[in-house]
Amino acid sequence: MNQRVPWHSRFDLLGVTFLLFIAAALGSLPGIEGSGRHLDHWGNLVRFASQFFPPDWSILDRTFVGLLETMQIALVSTFWAIFISIFLSLGASRNISPAWILWPTRMVLNVIRTIPSLLWALLAVVIVGSNSLAGVIALTLYSVGYLAKFFSEAFESADLQAQQALRSLGASPLQAFRHGLWPNARPVIWSHCLWMLEYNFRSASIIGYVGAGGIGLHLKLYAESADSWNKFSLVLLCILVIVTTLDFIGEKIRQSLRAKLEGKSKK
């Protein structure tokens, strides 16, 4: 009873797409060209990297001021993005909105997501000038594209039964949403908000490069003056500490929310 299976039966969708990816990556190699000159790559790297050390701690005070502004940009832009996204996500949720609201809203969100944060920052600098307000506008718009999509997915995947039960008890559609659907979607939504705050802090660190406020301006100045890579490394070190702290806190909160929703924790 040793039946041979056809060779092609081993290739499911996952296998086929993985093979296509490998083939496409290998096929792209000829398109990647170096300068053609003989360079001492390793030596260059060592010389350049050595300029980062030791970090110049004398600029710590200045760096804190820049980081504070970066955090303020991240906090304010995330706040506004959450506020706007809640409304937009209602329009982009299949189980809440009719098709004539759903598709235009999703199209708007697609357009917003297409534009990278640095381009939003450039646009904002052109409109309001080179300051931290430009950073807030840029990151708010950028975040809305993602948060509204994540929120709408949270509403679509949330358990609808509580909402239906409240409707059957006489609640209005809005009341059933507020007390039936919202509590079930809220932990997932809050988890996305925390992720977006971390992301916005990283983005706010770079948009200063185009004049949109924050620590990015410091990075630009140190990168442009040839002997300041040790100052540059201190700024990177501070960003790393803050991003790691935010990531740690965010993960702890997300874990706690997941455990609570799955009934594994009573806190």
Partner: protein, 227 residues
């Protein structure tokens, strides 16, 4: 069940799901104060009957008529908001009486007091601020009952409301439902599996037959005077 003004009247009703009649030619008159137990094997159509009476499934034939009155149902699958506290879940029952904005962030004190009283009666005091997802199955069942009772329905439909409770809690809950319903001059239609609970609490029993859609039987339940 001969009463002058029935709360609910079902005439010649039938339900067909996927080319199979669950029950047909069903006639019922539900008077104020009455407790009707619906019994029968799994798949006989008990839940479907309750959902038809709640207006959630249309009948395939026949009619359901009644006074303009409130109906509420305790669902077998509970349908709680897992990410909301026990208190907020219970308060969901009173939404019909209030506007959206008056319940947007908080609820009127009177409703909160009543909800807390119900939670206490059903053994959930001290768990008001706990998410529903963190409660045990039995606690969740009692919470779903609190929510439905806070809706103050005249006709209470209960789909196996004590299935996850031990006999002590089961009896307490059924006793409470019956007492509340009689106080409000309403009626209860409740699917039950436990024969002794049917005998002790129900006034009438509707037994659905899985094999014959017209084979349902409506009987008065003889009360055991010692119980």
């Amino acid at each position: 069940m001969n009463a002058p003004t029935p709360l609910l009247e079902v005439t010649d009703a039938g339900l067909k799901i996927e080319n199979r009649w669950l029950w047909r030619q069903l006639d019922l008159r539900l008077s104020p104060g009455c407790f009707l137990a619906v019994t029968g094997p799994s798949g006989a159509g008990k839940t479907s009957l309750l959902r038809c009476l709640a207006g959630q499934i249309p009948l395939s034939e026949g009619t359901i008529t009644g006074k303009e009155t409130s109906i509420a149902m305790i669902h077998q699958d509970l349908q709680l908001a897992d990410g909301a506290t026990s208190l907020m879940n219970a308060l969901g029952g009173c939404l019909r009486r209030h506007s959206f904005w008056s319940t947007f962030l908080s609820f009127p004190t009177k409703e909160r007091t009543e909800a807390r009283r119900l939670l206490e009666q059903f053994g959930l005091s001290g768990k008001e601020n706990q998410w529903a997802s963190t409660l045990s199955r039995g606690e969740r069942q009692r919470l779903a009952i609190c929510r439905t009772l806070l809706a103050r329905p005249h006709i209470l439909l209960a789909d196996e409301p004590v299935a996850s409770l031990d006999s002590t809690w089961g009896d307490r809950v059924l006793g409470h439902l019956k007492e509340t319903s009689q106080d409000r001059n309403g009626c209860i239609i409740c699917s039950l599996h436990d024969e002794s609970q049917v005998t002790r609490f129900a006034d009438f029993r509707l037994h659905l037959d899985e094999s014959t859609p017209e084979g349902w039987k409506l009987q008065s339940v003889r009360k055991d005077k010692t119980s």
